[in-house]
Structure formats: C-alpha cells, structure tokens
Symmetry: C2
Subunit: 335 residues, 2 copies
C-alpha cells in the first residue's frame, strides 16, 4: 500500500446504479394481485417493467439508486463527492444526471448511446410505508470497467460500493478495478450488501473480499448480516464477522443500528419522527450520515446518530433524496 | 343546436397541454438571479429550458398540464373524463400518458413521432409556496386539428378548454373544431383563461367567443378578469361580463372565489389548511371541484365549496395532481 496523497479531493466516491425511481402509493391488495416481493427488491426485464408500470397508479419520478442516494445525503451535509454510474442517452438519463450534479456531486461517466434505456425502479409504497421495488437495470448494468477513472478513485478518502451492482458482470469488474485503485492509494473501501438476493448469488465473493481485508467499512441490515454469516441469531452474526472488518455497521429498521470498530461497540435508537411515509432510501441515508461522521473521525456513537437522523428525514417523505436541509438538521440535532 | 344524445359517456372532455412538471424548491434570490417572472408562466424554447434546468436544484417529475390536472381531480372524485393533448414518442410522453390513464381518464391522442420532445414545465417553488413556471411547449403545440375526435367531444356533458393552448395555431384550430362539435351536440363549453399573457395576445378572440355565446362556463382569476374586461376594479369587472356568460367563476387565491349563474351570486372562502407548500395547480383543481358539482347540478355555493376543498388539497403538497383521496375528502367535508 503506497502512502495516500495529501488532501484527497473527495470525501467519498461511489459506484452504483444510476436509476430514476418511479414511485406510487398502492394497496396491499395490489401487491398480492401482482405477486410482488413486498419490502424487497426484484429485478425485472423491460417487458416486466412495462407490465408493472401499467398496473401502477399515477406516479412521480425522483432520482434514486442506492449509492447515488447515499452521496446525495453526504453532499447535502457538506461532503465532497463523486459518482460513477451508467445512464443511457435519454430523458431519464438527463434527469438522473441533472439531479446528481444539482447537489454538487461530480458525475463524469459518459452517457451510453443506444438501448437499453436508463434504469428505472418501479416502487410501490403501501400504507404501512414499506417500499416494494422492481428494478429494470437497463443501461446501469453496462458500466464499462475500462472507463473507470482510477485517479478519481485514488482522490477520495472512501470508495463506496453498492452490492446491487455486484450482480451484473461489467460493473463488478469495474468495482474490482476500483478496489485495487483505492487500496493502491491507501484509501478505505466501504461496501453495502444491499439485499439478500445479492448475497445469495455473490456471498462467496463478499466473504472472500472480507477475508482478503479489502473491506474497511461494511454496511448491512440484520437480514443481510444473517445471509452473509449464516447465523440467524443477530449477536452470533455480529460475533462471527466483527474481527474481519475494521468498521461494521448493521441497521435494524425501526430498532436502530449497531456499529463495531476497533473493539468498541455503539448503538443508536431510530430517530423518532411523526409519521413514516415511505421507507425508500432509509438504509442509503443511514450510510450518508454514518460516513459523514466517519470521514471526520467522529466518535462511533455520533456517526451512528448522524445516520439515524438522515434516515429519519428520508422516511418522512416520498423519495430517497433528501428534501430537508440536512446540514441544518444535523446542527439542530447534534449541535 | 341539435338535441343532446342520451347518457353522455363523459362528464368532461378537455383539450390541453400534455406537460410533465419538473419541480424544485428554490430561493427568492435564484428567481431574481435568473430574472424569472415570479408567480407567472413564461414560455421558453428548448435552449432556454436547458439553461433554466441547469440552474435548478434536484427536482421531481410529476405529470401536469392545466386542463389535464383538472381532469385528474375530476376523475379522482369519480367523474368520467377524456383528455386530448399531444405528447411526443419519448419517456416523458410515456410518463404523461401513464399518469393520466392510471386515474381512469381516456387518452387516445396518437403519439407524435420525432422532434420536438414532450412538453415540460420547469417550476421553481419559493419558500412562500409560490410557483414560477417556465414552459417548453414541445410536442404539445402541434396537436393536429384533423385528428380531433368530434364524436368523443359530442359524448361529453362539458367540453373544457385551456386558454394556454389557444396560443399555438394548431391546437387553437382543434379547439375551434371542438367548440363546434360540442355546440352541435348541445353540450356546454367551459373555458379557463389560464394566464394574463394569453389574454394580452388573444383577448379579442376570447371576447368574441363570449359575445357569440360560445362559452357557457368561464373560469378566471382576478387578474385575468381584469385583463379580459379592462376593469381594474373587481366588482366592475364582474359586472361587465356577468350577463354574457351563463356561469362565471372567478378565483381570488387566498381570498376565496365568487361565482355568478342565472342571476345568483355565491362566494366561498379559501378552505383553511395547515401549511401551503406549493400553489401549483390551485386554479386547476378549483375547476375540478366546481365542475364536479356543476355536472351534478348542485347548488352554486356547493360547487364553489368543492372547488375550494380540491384547491386546498393540491396546495398542501408538491405537484398539481391530487394525492389525497378526493372522493373521501368531499364526503368528509360536505357529507
């Protein structure tokens, strides 16, 4: 590992899906009628997306993508960020690019000509505020590894990777290159496991990355932790992995979150809010808050608290991009 | 005028702009910096739209269009509606078509191939909840008069026309044909004046339509009334026009609305709400509520009250399409 250059340009650079969310409220009956995987994320092809869109009520389009959401939160708090992800040359691609640049994030991945279209995620939000996601990956899965800007990766304190994007071949290769670039520059690698189905398919890869010491910060929720470790018991899962990653962050939805780092353990309760409207992006924004504190070397408990505050903001409205002034909110809540 | 066929299929058929709204909060400073016409609607070309979009913060896309919003409200209350408007063969066109059909509105205008793109309206929402609209009309202005389905127009109790669309030539010709078709079938024609700049350009046309007895229901706000009548005084404006249209509805923003019909005058206060978030669509939804009562031949005051309730719902959130269950809301408020 070579010495890290002075003054990295970015706090966090992320590689993730470049997705526009298409969101509509829906009844539990519709979820059943369409046989959707309630609360989960399911990949759909273009025909499947068309069929589900036809069954969906009037919607709104809001930029999404897990890692992109995390960066939007970080940027709103004042962090310097860059995003790597693939959009097509179409209107939804313009929407995604506009929205991510509009919050001050560098986004230079060249647009991809031709089909398929920019990724979209059809999100059905039930009255209990659960989001059921159906993703047409489109252009997002064709991020070419050869266009990866290793200098940009080396110029960030943290490389943040989205587990969802480990599934398609080209982005997986791009992420492996990025991990190399980050490690060569002495940077940290953060990884979010994203979803159980990804672990079902690529758990061996993830366990190998961890065993090789390539993951510095691991984000998971409690079901992903169980899938990764094979331990159904939460504490047994934590115990089996805590010595293999320098920083482990496990979220538990309404039950808060736990982090372990350097022998220390911290916990946080979920931040109370008046009404949960839409849980889309809760984990993504939890990561925003945590990473914001982490790059500033704040105490572990404070990093978690920032995560809980950012997650509470995102679930209080539709969409996975922050609406409130997160910077002001952090000052108000944490001083 | 021939006899109206029994059992018209539609309560309201509307011709209007087929627009997707691109909405973002913004500061008053940005409105000044960009020299925008605060509170108004300004037409912009593709270059202008690109420039303004570049200056806009992260946005959300929600289907809009004045008359289309009115129909969405009517449909949500339970009315049968059809829409005529022009989208292009692109993703925003799909979004518009999906959203209007998803609320049960018939929309059969064939998609237009090639450029320009589907219309979009860049809406800057200031902290005072005022919306400043900048519209790229795109495909919307090329609605071909020859494709107008006169049978569909004849099959609706009310033909509703959006003044905005009187400006471009082809839709104006389509609207003139539609008025003919409606009158031949013994149907009512409703017209909304939309915006002062339209009256500045086409006031003579509007006054001629009124003088010829072709407008049965006229919607205006107080500034549009002044522009149409040349009377700055509200009551003088009302007096100068009330005998020329069977039903006159004039909205006054936070000061409520007035309606005159068959020698009767009714007034309504604005419906109180906790917090005004975004005034986009207030007039459009007022028209929804009023028309819903009107087609059911309800008392004038009750029609106005429905308008005020629907307008209050729309200004309590972002976007000009209803989010609450308007049917249930009407029952709750009016019994």
């Amino acid at each position: 590992m070579t010495e890290a250059p002075q003054d990295p340009r970015y706090d966090v650079i992320a590689i993730g899906n470049a997705i526009v969310d298409v969101m509509a409220p829906c009844s539990d009956d519709l979820i059943k009628e369409l046989s959707l995987n309630k609360g989960g994320m399911t990949l759909v092809d273009e025909e499947g997306a068309k069929r589900l869109y036809g069954a969906m009520g009037p919607a709104r389009e809001i930029s999404g993508g897990s890692a992109a959401n995390t960066l939007a939160g970080l940027s709103a708090m004042g962090a310097q960020c860059a995003f790597i992800g693939q959009v097509a040359d179409d209107q939804l691609g313009e929407v995604f690019a506009h929205d991510i640049r509009a919050v001050g994030i560098d986004f230079d991945t060249p647009v991809r000509a031709g089909q398929p279209a920019t990724a979209r995620c059809l999100i059905f939000v039930t009255p209990d505020a659960q989001r059921t996601m159906n993703t047409f990956l489109g252009a997002s899965q064709f991020l070419p590894p050869e266009t990866l800007d290793a200098n940009a990766v080396a110029a960030a304190k943290i490389l943040y990777l989205e587990g969802y994007l480990w599934d398609p071949e080209e982005p997986r290769a791009a992420m492996r290159r990025a991990i190399e670039a980050a490690r060569s520059a002495g940077r940290k690698v953060a990884f979010t496991l994203s979803e159980v189905f990804v672990i079902d398919r690529h758990g061996d890869d993830f366990r190998a990355l961890i065993a090789d010491g390539l993951i510095d910060i691991l984000f998971a929720n409690h079901t992903e932790l169980a899938a990764l470790t094979g331990e159904d018991d939460f504490e047994a899962g934590i115990a089996s992995i805590k010595d293999k990653v320098p920083t482990l962050v496990v979220t538990k939805g309404p039950d808060g979150a736990v982090a372990l780092q350097g022998g220390e353990r911290a916990e946080v309760a979920a931040e109370p809010i008046d009404k949960v409207i839409d849980t889309t992006g809760a984990g993504d924004l939890f990561a925003s808050g945590f990473l914001y504190g982490h790059v500033r070397e704040e105490p572990l408990g404070r990093c978690l608290h920032r995560g809980a505050i950012a997650a509470a903001e995102i679930i209080s409205h539709y969409g996975a991009r922050p609406e409130a002034d997160l910077k002001a909110l952090m000052v108000e809540k944490l001083g």
